[in-house]
Each structure stands twice: as structure tokens, then as C-alpha cells.
């Protein structure tokens, strides 16, 4: 726990520096797109957020498998914290998407396959968090792990929806790589790295908090048993 804390502070400082660098590249370095204009810059937060939401749910999927296999509560904590962080990033995707869509597609929302599957994905993991609050403590970890594994089916469906069905959502990553100019590609890479640091910073802080909370609960239980608390 102490080693994690010592590593977390420089990690968070680096996240802060990278975020400032990302903002510089987005607003100063990256060129303005010819057709869409300034609004295209939303892309630099929209795409990394979507990718990190998928990654968070993948972490939940792996941690849930490990939990069911080893029955170690630390995997349940990782899965739970990853869902919470993933939902934050998925929320950002669902907010920035319609804001970008309004001036370009002339609608805030359309029931396009990518948009619909992303909304379903968000509802799935919000349901995961609600389930954790609703069920009894002895069933919580098991049920959440099963939900975390089954719920992950939505992630590849959402990712491949723009290839499987007819959609108006643009395809950024093609078989030839990223379909954009050099400076835009560079900006996306920097923003992506910065968002990855932000994601892990939030996830590690959340895991650390959850472990600390569990320890305090254990100490309180011991103190209750010993009649130390008044």
C-alpha cells in the first residue's frame, strides 16, 4: 500500500504535465480541419475517452474472471473500480458525441448503430454499479463478476458496430491506419497518452481508496469484538 502511494504522487504529477501538453497540442499545435472547422477538436477527447472506456470494461472482464477463479476479493475491488472509471469515460463519450453531432449532422442524437450500442454499453455498466448496491454483501462479488463477464459482450459489439452495420459515424482507424494528417495524428497520440495517464491515475486512486476502506472496516470490526469502541 505504501509503495503504491509513493508511486502514485509522481504518476499524478506526470498526468498533470501531460494534460497541459495535450491541451497545448489540441488548441495551438493541431491545425483546424477544413470542412468541420474548430468543432473537429472535440475528436481529441472523444476518441481517447471511448478507447479508455473499452479498456476499463476489459479490465473488469479480466478481473472478474480472476475473481471467480481465485476468489480473492482484491480482484473484485479492481473490477468494481474499473467499472466506475469506465463509466466516467463512457459518460464523456456520450456527452461530447452529441455536442459534436449537432453542428455537423444537425441533430443532437440519432439512433445510429454506434450511438445506440454505446448508450446500451453505458446502461449496462451503470446497472453493474446499481447491482452492487442492491445485493447483499455475501452475494455481491460473485454476482458482479458474472455481470462483468457477460456485460463485456457489449464492448466488441459497440467497437465493430460501424463495420457491421450501415452507419453515419466516421471510421477513424482503417486497415491503412489512422486516416488523418501528420500533426493531427501527433496530437491524437499525445492526447491519448495523457488520457491513459489520467485514467490509470483515477483507477489507482480509486483502488487505493477501496482497499483502505476495507482495512478500516476490518479494524472497526476487531475493535467492536474487543469492546474497544465506545
Amino acid at each position: 500500500m505504501k509503495r503504491m502511494q509513493t508511486l502514485l504522487i509522481p504518476f499524478q504529477l506526470l498526468t498533470y504535465v501531460l494534460m497541459l501538453l495535450a491541451l497545448y497540442t489540441i488548441f495551438i499545435y493541431a491545425p483546424v480541419e477544413k470542412t468541420m472547422g474548430l468543432i473537429q477538436k472535440i475528436f481529441y477527447i472523444h476518441v481517447p475517452s471511448a478507447f479508455l472506456a473499452y479498456m476499463a470494461f476489459f479490465i473488469t472482464f479480466i478481473a472478474s474472471i480472476f475473481y471467480l477463479y481465485r476468489k480473492d476479493s482484491k480482484w473484485d475491488t479492481v473490477a468494481h473500480c474499473a467499472v466506475e472509471t469506465g463509466v466516467i469515460f463512457c459518460t464523456i463519450v456520450l456527452i461530447t458525441g452529441p455536442i459534436w453531432a449537432k453542428p455537423i449532422w444537425n441533430v443532437w442524437w440519432t439512433w445510429d448503430p454506434r450511438l445506440t450500442t454505446t448508450l446500451i454499453l453505458w446502461f449496462t455498466y451503470v446497472a453493474y454499479l446499481m447491482l452492487r448496491r442492491a445485493v447483499k454483501e455475501n452475494q455481491r462479488a460473485n454476482l458482479s463478476a458474472v455481470f462483468g463477464i457477460i456485460g463485456f459482450i457489449n464492448v466488441p459489439i459497440t467497437f465493430f458496430s460501424i463495420r457491421l452495420w450501415r452507419t453515419i459515424h466516421p471510421v477513424v482507424i482503417t486497415s491503412r491506419g489512422l486516416n488523418m494528417s501528420g500533426p493531427m495524428k501527433f496530437t491524437l497520440i499525445i492526447t491519448f497518452i495523457a488520457f491513459c495517464f489520467l485514467f490509470f491515475s483515477l483507477l489507482l486512486s480509486r483502488i487505493r481508496f477501496e482497499r483502505l476502506k476495507t482495512r478500516i472496516e476490518e479494524i472497526n470490526e476487531i475493535m467492536d469484538d474487543m469492546n474497544l469502541r465506545k
Binding site: I39, I42, K102
Partner: protein, 54 residues
């Protein structure tokens, strides 16, 4: 095409969401720290009582 208001809205909402989450984490951490302090005080009190008895 000037869509700067949409750009401003997207970035400000994104940062607001992130800051609200960080603030929530920070507040919960603070509550946990106060619980640790409470435990510390109780233990110190008990140690003092034990010392007096012995």
C-alpha cells in the same frame, strides 16, 4: 464555420465531469482519514487506561 461555442461546451463539460469525480474521491478520502484519526484516538485512550490500571 465557427462552432466555438460547441467546442467550449464539450471541453468544459468533460473537465467538469472529471473534476466532480476527483472531488468525490477527495471528499471520501477525507472522510476515511477522519475515521483513522478516530480509531487512533480510541486506541490511545485505551492504552492510557491500561497504563493507569497497571
Amino acid at each position: 464555420m465557427d462552432n466555438s461555442i460547441y467546442l467550449f461546451a464539450a471541453f468544459s463539460i468533460t473537465w467538469t465531469v472529471i473534476f466532480i469525480y476527483i472531488f468525490r474521491l477527495f471528499r471520501n478520502q477525507k472522510a476515511l482519514n477522519s475515521q483513522i484519526n478516530k480509531i487512533k484516538k480510541t486506541l490511545q485512550k485505551n492504552i492510557e487506561l491500561d497504563d493507569r490500571h497497571s
